[in-house]
Symmetry: none
Subunit: 257 residues, 2 copies
DNA sequence: CGAGTTGTAACCAGCGTGTGACCAGGAGGC
DNA sequence: GCCTCCTGGTCACACGCTGGTTACAACTCG
């Protein structure tokens, strides 16, 4: 999977009253997979805050004379919000004023909705670049183990296990396919990137290194299980007798990941 | 931010051949106190890098058919550079294409220089704010170390460590992402502002310089930790055995930041 | 019991990193 | 203008870690 695909959708709001324009725009936004909504009248700033928008498109005309101060307040109060003014004919000095106040872009109506979207995208792009990537990959948790893809690290009981790059890739692959048995050939293929030659013991050796470190960091749990003649399976299983919860199921203490 | 005072001036370059337009623009830019220069022909990307620009204004027409790929390369290589296309008549699809590729704005000639400046300002502002947002004016404290973003300096046990600009930016980035492993490429991208070429050792060297100064100023602590094959992680860890607080944890003296 | 499979430890080559020296360019003092 | 100092950045070399191989022991299963 491409890591760039999992981007959260852009959240956009349009403050305008031109129903025809809004209709066309809505169709395009839906097609692009953006979350969007229409605001009929100047919404209080606090309400805007709670919408957690990425981009706001607004027509100064529908706001009347209060438009400028509204724009100013929005930009001041929500500095991380991208603001695009999309309005009718305007003078250079008006546009300069709007941009100086804090608008990120100014488009003159009539305009093509596709261009508006492209400009909104450009505005949202930079903001996103700063804060994206950070929260992206959700950490995998199993037993005492926590795997954070964004940090290239695994933690046991809060403490960092010092994993090598390959070791990390291996445990990440295993943990991600938790519960199912992965054949050696497939493991090799997906971690090393090319086909395994018969007799290669690399996977076994790295499993051993992993087990060693996991054992040291989380002694009361077993994570990697051997399946003779096939490969390995990841499953967090506690060694502590579960006398409190005596479940006679085949699986002693399966912890979901 | 109320004080717009101590802002470093915007560095802008124009890639165009319209001498009349350039002349008028230059006057306005001088009046605004911006550093600017004119590029007569498509400059190699490496040369652009060394100019340390904030904003680049370019006319796709002067580049000919190679303009699109040039624009694309610039946006890819210098993601933190604001790019404004200022060119003659164009179709909606051309504008959409340019913005999608990575341009921040697209202005149609003829245009008023004041509007161009206002848009350049908006682009620079957005970029700057994104930078500032992650810096967090609040001072970071870890171990004996205190980092004050407002002073561009770091202090250990009250005494100032004499850090250069790059060194400070590096420690600030690391400390702000305390606990996380930052890949070399990302460090380079965010401190130097453009993409790292393979084999560049600048990050290593500056980490070394930082470690040296930190070691001298705060000998009983370790702050920057290497993650082989990945990058670096900031975490204040004391070398003193914590016999006063005999915690039977595996980690000897992990100090959260 | 034997062949094939897996666990384990030692071992080595490659390369990523630490480190010091060196150099170019810019700021500032004279 | 010339000189000096400082900073940023490159280079070369040494070292240590990592990845991967091999050999052997232990184990599984027919």
């Amino acid at each position: 999977m491409g890591s760039t695909t999992a981007q959260p959708p852009v959240r956009l709001a349009v403050l305008d009253s031109d129903t025809g324009f809004l209709q066309v725009l809505a169709n395009r936004l839906d097609a692009a997979g953006w979350q969007h909504r229409v605001l009929a009248s100047p919404v209080p700033i606090d309400a805007l805050v709670s919408m957690r928008l990425n981009v706001l498109v607004l027509d100064l005309a529908v706001l009347g004379p209060a438009g400028w101060s509204y724009l100013e307040k929005v930009c001041e109060r929500l500095p991380s919000l991208g603001v695009i003014v999309c309005t009718g004919r305007s003078s250079v000095s008006q546009r300069v004023r709007g941009l100086r106040i804090g608008a990120d872009d100014w488009i003159t109506k009539p305009c093509h909705p596709e261009e508006l979207i492209a400009r909104a995208e450009a505005v949202a792009r930079r903001r996103r670049r700063a804060e994206a990537a950070r929260v992206e990959a959700a950490p995998v948790v199993a037993g005492e183990l926590e795997i954070r893809a964004d940090q290239f690290q695994a933690f046991a009981a809060g403490a960092s296990i010092d994993l090598t790059r390959r070791e990390f890739e291996l445990i990440q692959l295993l943990a991600h396919a938790a519960g199912q048995v992965l054949p050696r050939e497939e493991i090799y293929q997906r971690v090393w990137g090319y086909a395994m030659v018969h007799g290669d013991r690399s996977v076994d050796v790295f499993v051993r290194k992993l087990r060693q470190k996991l054992e040291r960091a989380s002694p009361r749990w077993r994570y990697i299980h051997t399946h003779f003649g096939i490969g390995y399976r990841f499953a967090a299983e506690s060694l502590d007798p579960p006398e409190v919860v005596p479940e006679p199921v085949a699986e002693p203490a399966r912890v979901l990941v």
